[in-house]
Amino acid sequence: MRTLDWIVMGGFLAFVVVYGVWRGRRNRNLDGFLLADRDMRWWTIGLAIMATQASAITFLSTPGQAYADGMRFIQFYFGLPIAMVVLSITAVPIYHRLKVYTAYEYLEGRFDLKTRSLAAFLFLIQRGLACGLTIYAPALIISILLGWNLYVMNLVIGILVITYTASGGSKAVNHTHFVQMIIILGGMLAAFVVMVSLLPRDVSLIDATYVAGKMGRLNAIDFSFDINNRYNFWSGLIGGFFLALSYFGTDQSQVGRYLTGKSVAQSRLGLLLNGIVKVPMQFFILFIGAILFAFYQFVAPPLFFNDVEASKIRASAQAPRYEALEREHMEAFEEKQATVRELVTARRAGDDATIVVASTKLIAAQENTARIKTEAVELIREVNPRAETNDSNLVFLTFVLNYLPAGLVGLVMAAVLSASMSSTSAELNALASTTIVDVYQRRFKPTASDRHYVIVSKLATVFWGGFAIMFAQYATRLGSLIEAVNILGSLFYGTILGIFLVAFYVKSVGGTATFFAALIAEAVVILCFAFTGISFLWYNVIGCLVVVLAALFIQRFVARPPTRPGVDSRQ
């Protein structure tokens, strides 16, 4: 990082903190602190929803995912727009009518206190841990690439977020999301433009796309059905729908964003904006990864992107073996590059026969490169058994640091840190809301002044921020970070969604049946995770279905719930 990069990055981060504190300076009551006085417009809500979901992991790990595995991850988002429509029709009017602070508050009116507490408890565990990952993920990547201290990074990111979230509450969160989202998209676009401009002069973007496609990186759609296949059309549409329904409908970090809407219409439009923009945005980020893969077919990539681990092995007794692998990797690259150029020339000439031959050669060359990399990884593990051997998260930022001009590196780093801060701030705000409204106010201090609740909410924000920083300090060896976060979410989301679906749609089922059904569902999901190879997206479906079916079954043996006017969604 050069001086200009530091100025751009530091200037933007300082601006976000000051802007957040300033926007939230007039918080006098709980409504203002937790729900921004319910005064937000749809575009602010829409961008806040997107910024909350799009953490730094999205921007670092997603291009790496496309680089290593192709664009099939896009299918993960196919259920999201449908979920936005369903939530706009069902959940938004209910939450607005009941004027709740948290989604779980609604459950007490519909069921009972224990079901509300269970849902809030599951949320606090899952989101508290996920918040730590949200801080840890970019800190880890940046610390590896720039040699910054990981623990200091966790602390700095955490403290910056705590400062404006504890000070400004929901207003600060929503308004900073707006500017953060703009800088994030600007940073990604700048990186993409530079990437394309750095392709060799005789290679166009179409050529690069063609190469990426021939090497299996543009596999955006796969209609084959396989429950063990993590990303295909069906898992994305069905599993992704359930995950999105649960995440946006029951996770307070998202519900808290659209509850700030001035009206039902503003909240709905915010959700629908997300439904329209999310898939193209993710496609663009994945496409950056695919083009980055093509870029590294013309420019030699390092054998292993994690330079810290590579340096360790170069300093060990295994250095000669590793250097031999590096030479072999370079020879394989040169051979592969010649074939890639042959393919590009054949495409332009429309020479189908050469295309077939070159494509076959290219696949073999890619397999050879993969073999060399596997050997290198085994060698790294031999020297350091605890080494992080998944380097896909480092691919994008390595490119940024090595190839972007001064100033733009700072912009992308600001974008990455912004993404981390935007998600973390929404999570802290949601954790504080749930802690205060569903636990503290409900169970310990039901009557106190607004000022008291605002102060305790700020303290809760600081507490959860501290908890997240502590978890971040211990989170290691997680593989692909974006998958780790989604897997963690999927362990709980299905159950929480099941509780809400019963609440919204199955009037005949009461709190006791739902409570025990939720416990059974959570046990089933954890067993699936521990003992089966079922892809994690299906946990959302399984957890949800078990809650609904078990609740219907258990309800046969317990007393029917009384009707609760004004709470049931259909009244």
């Binding site: 496609g213 543009l218 629908l272």
Partner: protein, 43 residues
């Protein structure tokens, strides 16, 4: 300026909610079709 609190009030854009919902779903279908063509074209 205050918004209409009625959940069935028409949206500020797009005339009716059903029209907006249909647009979101139609746009998703369009994107999936586009991605399918994209995948096949560069396979």
């Amino acid at each position: 300026m205050t918004d209409n609190p009625d959940p069935e009030a028409p949206p500020p854009i797009g005339r009716t909610w059903n029209r907006l919902y249909s647009f979101v779903i139609a746009f998703l279908i369009f994107q999936i079709a586009l991605f399918f063509i994209f995948t096949k074209a560069f396979e």
